[in-house]
Symmetry: C2
Subunit: 330 residues, 2 copies
């Protein structure tokens, strides 16, 4: 009897949401979605679909995730070093039985429209049980340049595509055969590990070694250093013959940067002035003069004043502060 | 023996510097000029040139000005209603002897280069003693559209000009015979009153009545309502044959709006990022992304995010808040 497991990946900081997100408070733990965190919403979204939850992430995730995991059967696999998604998912697969079905989800995306989500996941589980590796593709609603795409025909993947430029994104949308790559996957633990061993034997072996020498699910540091850092997309998805895609219509956003967050706040009726200016993190009366599409992000020790069309550039601010060893990223 | 009196006019709020300036804290009382207020700098600049200081302004000025006046012989004439400069100066003139020389100065302008200032004022006092009404014109250093101009030939005024448009301002600068109208005047009290009576008999009489019925230099309210609200420029300067202009080279700014304040801060070496962005009123670490020439003005209860090229429009924010009876202008 196989178990269904929600593998939640909790990796990055979400540096493009600085100063809200910090090393000590990654994006998925910010309670800014009507008071909820994206992590919490991920756990709740999946808990009735699975038997168990496995979190894979850095050790600090343990404390941050604890309040949201306390009511579900769960394990936490602690990575001492980040080694990208191919290895992170391998750890969860090693921890499971080969016949167990893993539903792998990021912890930092926003999904709405639960019925459609459940429908898509159930279809994915069917594929998984048949021995396939299921991916989930979201039907695009705009020519988004911030997401990867999956070219498909029904459930078959024709190609995976990197983030396109604006012109290509418009072509994708017009073409109609392209889906946003959601980063959600579903497969049997054994099927994934078999494909990983086949395409990335070194990654497989080093990950297995780090896992086998884990101490209470805290991975072995020295052995972790040996693991090649590759995404599941490069390591397995783009090479395996077992891929199926489930086209889905649920509402999905990676909340990657402040433009996504703005769209969310706008939809929820958050106050925005007539020129598209918004203040986050302060209730102080704020007036904008001569500015449009400006976003003020206020925190206790740092403030960001952003032209929303430059939302991606916040990453560079973060990286600069990190290089300077600034306490403002901690 | 005539006395020389510095008449300091302390009228407006400086609404274009909102949220720094408020009704309870007009621009001239903001300690933002290396810790000094413009009012204080005005008193100090003139105290060695005069025998006495007379402040004319609304009643709340008494408390605000007190710390800066305590070391100089002074009187405060309290207007119950604002009635513009022709009347305000008349009150100071009524309070003086006809032969007293009045050096009338705004309280909210910044002047640097003391030697040149003293030189200009001394020339003005000479004219005043000869029975003239002296104005002071600053040699323009840029085609400023925010100031009025004086067309002159040596000490003779050819015309007074309203704030010009950009093209006219460039013509004025090129022409070389135009000076910025500084709002500083010098004349004998009796000469001013004589000219005022001649050109504006009603204004003269109603102002005299309000002054004569003052209670400890607090003007009579009912009689104040009768006084026509006119500037000294319209009431006297543009009509009198007794006008002399003193061209001067001291550094002068009306600090009317945030663009002037920015120029001041820039000169004083205040931190400004490489795109000309600046934060006033907060030491919180602030980063700007995708924005240029942006100014953040932070106060305890309100924040302004301003495109500096739209600095004049802050007045409209203030007026709107005032209309809404907002506590944020109090």
């Amino acid at each position: 009897m196989s178990t269904i497991i929600n593998v939640i990946l909790s990796g990055g900081v979400g540096s493009r949401l600085w100063p809200l997100s910090r090393k000590s408070k990654p994006k998925q733990y910010l309670p800014i979605f009507e008071g909820n965190t994206l992590f919490e919403l991920t756990v709740k979204r999946n808990q009735d679909l699975v038997d168990r939850t496995v979190l894979v992430g850095s050790e600090q995730n343990k404390a941050l995730a604890a309040p949201y995991l306390k009511d579900v059967p769960h394990d936490v696999i602690a990575e001492v070093l980040p080694r990208n998604t191919a290895a992170a998912i391998a750890f969860a697969a090693f921890h499971a039985q080969p016949e167990d079905v893993l539903i792998v989800t990021p912890s930092d995306h926003l999904i709405e429209d639960m019925n459609r989500y459940v429908e898509a996941i159930e279809q994915g589980v069917v594929f998984a049980k048949e021995g396939y590796i299921a991916t989930f593709g979201i039907r695009p609603t705009r020519p988004e340049t911030g997401y990867g795409y999956i070219e498909h025909e029904h459930h078959s993947v024709l190609s995976f595509r990197e983030k396109p430029n604006a012109e290509t994104a418009r072509d994708f949308l017009k073409n109609g055969n392209f889906l946003w790559n959601s980063g959600i996957f579903c497969f049997k633990a054994g099927v994934y590990l078999e494909e990983l061993r086949r395409f990335e034997p070194k990654l497989y072996q080093t990950a297995a070694a780090a896992f086998d020498h884990a101490d209470e699910l805290v991975l072995d540091e020295e052995r972790s250093k040996q693991i090649p850092s590759k995404s599941i997309d490069y390591a397995v998805l783009e090479r395996s013959e077992l891929i199926k895609v489930v086209p889905a219509n649920f509402k999905w956003s990676d909340m990657g940067a402040f433009d996504s967050l703005f769209a969310y706040f706008q939809e929820k009726g958050y106050p925005i002035d007539e020129n598209g200016n918004i203040v986050v993190g302060s209730t102080k009366h704020t007036m904008f003069v001569g500015l449009t599409n400006c976003m003020v992000v206020n925190t206790e020790d740092a403030m960001l004043i952003l032209d929303r069309s430059k939302a991606q550039e916040v990453k560079q601010i973060y990286e600069q502060l990190e290089k300077e060893d600034s306490p403002l990223v901690q």
